[in-house]
Structure formats: C-alpha cells, structure tokens
Symmetry: C2
Subunit: 228 residues, 2 copies
Amino acid sequence: MSPRRVPVSRRDRPAKPPLSRDGVMSVALRVMREEGLERVTMRRLAAELDTGPASLYVYVDNLAEMHAALLDALIADLPLPSGDDAGCWREDVIGLLDAYTRILMGHPGLARSALVLRPSGPHYLRLVDAVLGLLHAGGIPVRQAAWGVDLLLQHATATAAEQGTRDGSADADGEVRQQVSAVRDADPGDHPHLHRARDELFSGTGEQRARWAFSTLLDGLAAGRGGD
Amino acid sequence: MSPRRVPVSRRDRPAKPPLSRDGVMSVALRVMREEGLERVTMRRLAAELDTGPASLYVYVDNLAEMHAALLDALIADLPLPSGDDAGCWREDVIGLLDAYTRILMGHPGLARSALVLRPSGPHYLRLVDAVLGLLHAGGIPVRQAAWGVDLLLQHATATAAEQGTRDGSADADGEVRQQVSAVRDADPGDHPHLHRARDELFSGTGEQRARWAFSTLLDGLAAGRGGD
DNA sequence: ACCTGAACACCGTTCAAGT
DNA sequence: ACCTGAACACCGTTCAAGT
C-alpha cells in the first residue's frame, strides 16, 4: 500500500538482520524461557540466527559468560523494595530473597551456573546493594552484613539449584523418595539421632522451609558472635 | 619359582578380569583422584576397563547415580567425632563440617552434583546422624536440628562448589577479579550500601569465612525463632 | 544374564580462510 | 573487523545382536 517499500533482499527471503550482542542475547533469553537453559547451546543459537556457531564468539566470550548475562537479565525483573521503611526490614529482606529464589527456581540450570559464576552484572550489584541496605536498616553491623549478604544469596541460589523442576537430571523426585526411604529404613541403633529426627527431616513445604532458612540466617547475623 | 602357576590367558596378555560394580567404582575413584571428576566419563572408564561404554550400564544406572556413589565413597574417609562430649559440641560441629567442606573442595564438580543429588548413601546418613547428634548435645530442639542439618550441609556443599580449584570453568579467579573491580567501580551514589561495605565484602580468608558462616548458622539455630 | 559394536543425537571451541 | 565452514575432540545413552 505505501509507496515506499522496504528493500527486499535477493531471492525474496527476509533480509537477515546483522548479528549483534543484543540479538544473540535476546534469542538466548527467548529460547531459555520457552525451552529451558539446556537448549541454549551455541549451535542452537547459531541455527536460530542463521549462521554457524563460530560466529557467536565475536559477541560472547564463552558459554559461562553468556550464562552470567542471562542471570543478570533475569534479575532485572526483580522488584526491589522502594525506600528505607526501617519498620519491616526483616519482612522486606525475606520477601526480596524469596522473590530472587523464585526467579531462579524457574531456571535451575542457571542457578547451578550462578553458584560457580561470581556474578558481577549491574542488576546483580543493585540486588546486593538492596540487601545490604535492608540489613543496615535492621541495625546489623557492616561486617556482619557484608559477609551475610553472601550467605543469604548463596542460600537462595543453592536452594533454587536443588529444586530443579523438570530441568536437571531426569527424575528429581525419584531421588527424593529414595532419600526418604533410606532415612526411614536406616537402622535406629546405628543412627539414633537420625531416628529421633526422622519425622521432622522432611516436614514442611518448600515455601515454609525457605522462609525458615532466611529467618534463621537473619537471626544468626543479628546474634553476631560469628567467627569464634 | 613356585610350582603352582597362575593360569595365563591365551596369547599371554594379562587375563581381563570380569566386570563388576566394585571394579567400575574403583576405576572411577582412581581416575577422579588422579585427573578430576570431569575425566570420569562412561567412555573413559570403559576404555580403562577394556570394553565399550554400553557395558557399564549393567553396573551403573547412569552418570548421576555414579556421582552419588563417588560422593559416598569420599565421605567414608571423614573422621566422625567419637562420643558425646557435650562440652565442645560447637567446635565439633564446625570441625566436622569444615572437614566435609575440605573433602568436597578437592572435587568441586562432585560438590556441584551433590547439590542436585539428594544423597542417600550409607556414609552420608552416618554424617547426617553425627551432625544431628552434636546439635542435640548442644541443646538445639529437634525440629531446629532437623531443618538445620540441611542448611549446614547445603552451605558446605555450595561453598565447595563455589571455590572450584582448577576443576570447573577455565579461570575461576578471573571471575573473582572481575567481581571485585565491578564492586569497586560501582557508582557510590547509585549503590550507597555497596559502597559502605566495599572493603568488608571481600575481606577474610576462605577459612575464616567458612568458620564464620558455620558459626553464624549455629547462632541462628540456637536463637530458634525461625519461621516467623 | 551379561556383554558388545555401532549408532543416535548431540556438545564447546578453535582456526584458517574469506570478505 | 566480522563472519564462515569445517574440523577437533569429545559427550551420555540406547539398542539390536551376539554369547
């Protein structure tokens, strides 16, 4: 209809847009959301971008660096607490860490990468700053807070890596059942403490245990004897 | 010299011993100790045992199950605290978890597997029982102890997975340096709390931080408000 | 039952060569 | 500088066929 037509490439296939870091990353994000991180391979992204895998190495150092960038992109969606409402700092930390855990739980493979990655993206730094701010508002001394933020974020990441819904290795809950029955079948004489705690070891929902864990970590930070 | 000779196989190559679960596992352990977990592949073990990879599936479910067995074999070397010396339970827990962390740090890849694995081997159960016993000796209530042992062991595993000496992805300390400089270069106006804590975020040795973390977790368990 | 060869369906990364 | 095809050096797992 319009008199000006977009020039069409030879042989009337749609023009192949030039490669770029953003282009690679946005395809990576889409494939991750639609099919999971395990499908985000150099070869798959290359095919999606109509080129060979070697071409991606102009825009991406390697797979690990790309995972770090994907993690940062996910963190961008995290709603950070607004100002410094000192009253409910405790609920705010737990809520924030809970939200972070939930985001990672959608991509357990990425959580597993994040454990090894030492993320340093801009959104990750914002997250660390926000947690530090809340701990400060709660009156937790700076060294406790500095070391504590690592502990809190590590727990979130490890928990997400552990859960591994559908992603990960075949039947995750097959392993859980095996662990449950191993504990139940253990000789009570050889494992008296295991036997005493057997009903509590697997009690509670994931949600309850996550909030308990964050709460317990905050208690430990507030107690602040640490180190000795 | 001896009149009785061991029968020699045809063509005088050493007789190929029959395959067995123990044989597979002991080769796996040796390769892991000598060359790292990343070399423990089905194909490599098969070559070492002079057969094809398919043959191993008679004795091993899959790679994940073999990793679980390797982890349990490592835990067997862990010296568990002797009796119930209630006086120094705190030091005993920290020492035990420290030893566990150290064992896993030698095999970061295995630590990474262990995070997803829900181990249920006999030696792992002994370890859980020992930790529960020490927490009990310290007067920590059974539910706190039951949920706490997960938290403590998860921290040990995640820390070992994080450290990743030489194993793992290329240059681990390259990533650390990048994280350090990202924190140092972050805009102080945008990241006031990060800026305030910047010198403490990377302070301390791995050893100091590990002991601090375990200590802080125990403080949290002892405080015992958890859950709300 | 145990063992095997061969195949299936993939990987990340490098590198010489082109434009 | 950017892009490519082809290669290098591997993976875990399955399966039909043999013994």
